[in-house]
Amino acid sequence: MLHILLALSTQERHGYGIMKEVESDSQGKVKMGPGTLYGSIGRMIEAGLIRESDKRVDPEMDDERRVYYKITALGQATLAAELERYREVVAVAKKKQLAPNSFAYGI
């Protein structure tokens, strides 16, 4: 959900657009299929984090009209709170001088 909120934080996107943005943001580490993506979208709409925007054609793709999704004010607040939480966790890890490979050899 965090990845979807992040993908929608800068602009409205349709399903495929969200998928590609998530893939790009995570440097290819997070890949979602339509089943996962639309399941998450449904739950996020229900929670008021995102909402459906108008249906329109994506000029960079074909002439099919697509539903676009938009982040809500609650979604923006949730994203900000979650990013802050991550920042705090990273700060604690830095304070403890933990590097990503600290536990690689079972030290």
Partner: protein, 251 residues
């Protein structure tokens, strides 16, 4: 690279697979999912990559989604069935009353009204409490909804609390205060507490306004009318305090 007939077949099968989603979900997201699948197919073809393993993964991933959404749908359906059963069981009381108790004679519209109110209250209660795992909040929601139910029942079935007067229209207004307040609060405890306090205040103001506009109910005694409204307001205040206490304890 995948052949054109294989791509067409994949798209057709995927569209058929989407039919296994629950109808409301399919109507809402089916078209978008199909478009996304087609976009992903096009992307693979343009990159001159094979489609077989991709299609297999997509079908597997979407099948998992279908199972998940169908399970959610069944759970929702189950809660509707539970509320309907509860409503039916409660309505058995007046039904037995009609059969076995002398002088008890509920007409059919009373059953329909009671059934609608009970079913509506239950349907509101179920999804709201699902979002709350605190027992105090659940009790608070039950108390608030129960009070709203009794108020509506007294007005519609027993007759207007304030007598035959348009001042009775203030009661839907009181309920609207709570409804709008709950939406603004997004069911968060602190906001819910405020919404219920606002409801109690609105309820306390009803007899004051009714007295000013001269509603006929006061002919039977001012204290009784004010007492009844104070009772309703008190129940919402208790509910509001439960929410407030819960939200303070969580901090």
């Amino acid at each position: 690279m995948a052949s054109e007939p294989f791509i067409r077949r994949c798209r057709k099968w995927y569209a058929k697979l989407l039919r296994l989603y629950p109808k409301p979900y399919r109507e809402r997201f089916g078209e978008g999912m199909e478009q996304t699948f087609n976009d992903l197919c096009r992307e693979r073809v343009n990159a001159e990559r094979g489609l077989f393993s991709f299609a297999l993964w997509m079908f597997f991933e979407t099948s998992a989604g279908i199972m998940r959404e169908n399970m959610t749908f069944v759970i929702v359906q189950k809660s509707i069935i539970r509320v309907a059963l509860g409503t039916g069981l409660i309505l058995l009381i007046p039904l037995f009353g009609n059969i076995f108790v002398d002088g008890w004679n509920w007409p059919l519209p009373a059953f329909i009204l009671a059934g609608t109110l009970l079913f509506g209250t239950g349907l509101t209660y179920e999804p709201v409490v699902k979002k709350m795992n605190n027992k105090a909040y659940r009790f608070a929601v039950g108390l608030a909804l129960g009070t709203a139910f009794i108020l509506t029942w007294m007005n519609l079935a027993v007759g207007g609390i304030l007598g035959d007067h348009p001042a009775n229209l203030m009661y839907p207004g009181v309920l609207l205060v709570g409804f709008v307040g709950a939406i603004i609060a997004r069911l968060k405890p602190h906001g819910m507490s405020r919404a219920l306090f606002a409801m109690a205040l609105a309820m306390a103001l009803v007899p004051v306004i009714a007295l000013i506009v001269g509603a006929p109910a006061f002919a039977n005694g001012v204290v009784a009318v004010f007492g009844l409204h104070a009772f309703f307001a008190m129940l919402w205040i208790v509910s509001a305090l439960l929410f407030r206490r819960g939200s303070v304890n969580r901090l």
